[in-house]
Amino acid sequence: MRKTLEVINELKDKGLIKDYAIGGAIGALRWTQPFFTEDLDIFIICEKESKEKELIILTPIYEYLKKKGYPWKGHWIVIEGVPVDIFPADELEKTAIEEAQETEYEGIKTKVIGPEYLIALFLRVFRDKDIRKTELMLEEATVNKEKLDKILNKYGLTEKFTNFREKYYGK
């Protein structure tokens, strides 16, 4: 994990990405008690955006990682023994990255998406595992409710959150 983060930081240092932050289960785990997961989700802001907005080109990143000898396993690229998923950020994720909390893992600097943005991202996808993570975040993480409301409102997720709370918490 230490070396994995070093390699991801290299992507930024070498100008292949503008910025990144850890999200997904590991992002959540930063704010909750440890729970099982298999992969590390990294959300990235690309350095160069394609002229065609619908086209996101990750080739230089994958070429760089391939040259370093990291193998593919299904949809993951295994960087220094850790399966990694790389997601190019959309508008919500970009803000989440920009406002992510700087933290350290064994002395290596990294950024982790904050609880409020993670909840918004989980709500948006809303698979069973996202619902479980949302519950964990609400029960164990310190969530700034005002900030969460603002994010949910901005990205049209307020109603989804209200329905979620009614279904799972009865309020």
Partner: protein
């Protein structure tokens, strides 16, 4: 009647409600662990999933 049930853990006697409160407190304390410590715990969970669970293709993270 069931609510009056007591649980004996070593020298401690707790009601179910007290036990659940303790569990809740423990979870919140665990949430405050350092990121490094949580990743170590995750690797233990991955090892457990590989040896006990049905997840035979789990990659145990190199930390």
């Amino acid at each position: 009647m069931e609510n009056n049930q007591k649980i004996v853990i070593g020298k401690r006697i707790l009601t179910k409600e007290e036990l659940f409160k303790e569990k809740e407190k423990f979870r919140k304390e665990r949430a405050k662990l350092l990121f490094d410590e949580k990743i170590k715990a995750l690797v233990q969970l991955q090892q457990l999933a590989l040896s006990w669970g049905n997840k035979k293709d789990v990659i145990i993270w190199r930390i």
